[in-house]
């Protein structure tokens, strides 16, 4: 994959493309919207208890890339729920429903590598 990138890099670095004079596409907003609205299947997330609820609740605002790229502890995921409510107006998540989602996220999108114990945190 990186090879493809490098190959393209070589092509794109050619002088004729450095200052494109061509008219910009009028459809960037449409294309961006189409990307944003591209239907995602729930199965893009790791299988497990709470997946449907997590998928449904989170994708009301953003797609699953934000989840899939993340590797957070349970405490960090939990804090993120409050942050999204406080900063982005998400409906507050509470009680068992919150636990279901946070547990799911921590179980499947937890810290990726075991690291040395942090003497300041543990």
């Amino acid at each position: 994959m990186r090879l493809a990138v490098l190959g393209l890099a070589l092509l794109l670095a050619s002088p004729v493309l450095i200052r494109p004079a061509a008219a910009q596409p009028a459809s960037q907003a449409d294309a961006a919207r189409a990307m944003a609205e591209r239907a995602e299947e729930e199965s893009v997330l790791a299988e497990g208890e709470g997946r449907s609820e997590t998928f449904g609740y989170c994708t009301a605002c953003h797609n699953t890339a934000l989840i899939r790229r993340s590797r957070f502890s349970r405490a960090q995921w939990d804090g993120l729920m409050d942050w999204m409510t406080e900063r982005h107006g998400m409906n507050p998540l509470e009680g068992e429903f919150r636990d279901l989602i946070v547990d799911y996220l921590a179980r499947h999108y937890g810290p990726s590598q075991s690291r040395a114990r942090n003497p300041f945190l543990n």
Binding site: Q28, A29, M35, E37, N63, R71
Partner: protein, 438 residues
Amino acid sequence: MVRRIERSVQELYRDDPERADALAFGRRGALKGAALAAMGGAVGAAIPFGGSMPQGTLPALFSRPAAAQSGGPALLDLPGKGPLILQGERPLNAETPETLLDEPVTSARNMFIRNNGGVPDAAADPRAWKLVVEGEVNQRLELTVGELEARFPVITRQLQLECGGNGRAFYQPQARGNQWGNGAISNGEWTGVRLRDVLNAAGLKSSAVATGHYGADPHLSNEPGRPAIARGMRIAKAMEEDTLLAFRLNGAAIPQLHGAPLRLVTPGWPGSLSQKWLTRIWVRDKPHDGPGMGGTSYRVPVRPIVPGSSNNGRDFADLESMPVRAILSSHAHGARLPAGTRALDLRGAAWAGDLTVRAVHVSVDFGASWTAMQVADPANRHAWQRWTGRVALPSDGYYEVWYRATDSEGRMQPHAPPNWNPQGYGGNPISRAAILVG
């Protein structure tokens, strides 16, 4: 020069992932003796300078973000845009691979994309787009793009535009947000009028201490009237001569994705201060408090905190001038070069927020020795600086190109990302690209 390569280091490595994983993450202590030989086996070549690898350092091909992900990153496919690394579709964010930043002036095509909300529809009549300037001013102004261009001096500058979270992926534990490597940077040639000329025309009251910026992009929730982001800066930066209200990029209309028909360009400071689809500047009598201000957003600890700890950011300070950073644009991480290659002709760019770059150094022996590169002057203040240089290789094998810039005040990129914070701002460690010769 780089030639087209057939197999990457990662592909060699992928032939035996289990063994590589064991080597990369299961080993203990320094890479020495048999472990070093085994690691050399895993990367598909001897590691000529392996003896000087710092203890606990993983070869870059195992540890570098995005580029080192198995299967490679998803690439953007969108009209008018190059194959950027897709960070997410909603909101739409995409990073420019360092090798696509080989152009001295970044093309619109290769400019990274950062959104907090949605992308608004293009204006039917861009010249009629209105900007309101109000708040702590003597006279509220309402100016169209056409009026801005007619009424104020129009200037053109090459300006760094860098996401405040550039380098976030280097933090461990992981920090919240897009996992940018070094590629959330651009150096476009922007044309517009100075924000200060417009603020002077409105007349700043003595109470004016900060700006607040608003754009037309909808919040992700589509809640009407809720800004996706609305940040602001201290008035001194707003009054700087390179802070522009821009309406052209590289001599053409700004692409819709990049904020047409009017955006701020606030070079050297977090890109979130370069509000796209700009509609309103609110001059404030206190630091702005819109979404994206306060807490841990675009803010860094004044007193360093324990990595991974939670913190509400109350005692943090706004990230302002961005830290020094270099990119390598001539060679991709994972490039394979022909056997017998004994020198690398390298090039890239470096920048340092409001400062300039004094030096760029490269090491191919894990930091044991450093070679000075030639660093060109910036095209103008706040433009990035291009660098070139040659390093020698003693043999075939696995190398890492470590590249490090030093700013005009003598601060270098550190060996590890400094000052960990929950949202990962200011991550500018020395970067490493894996190269295989033979």
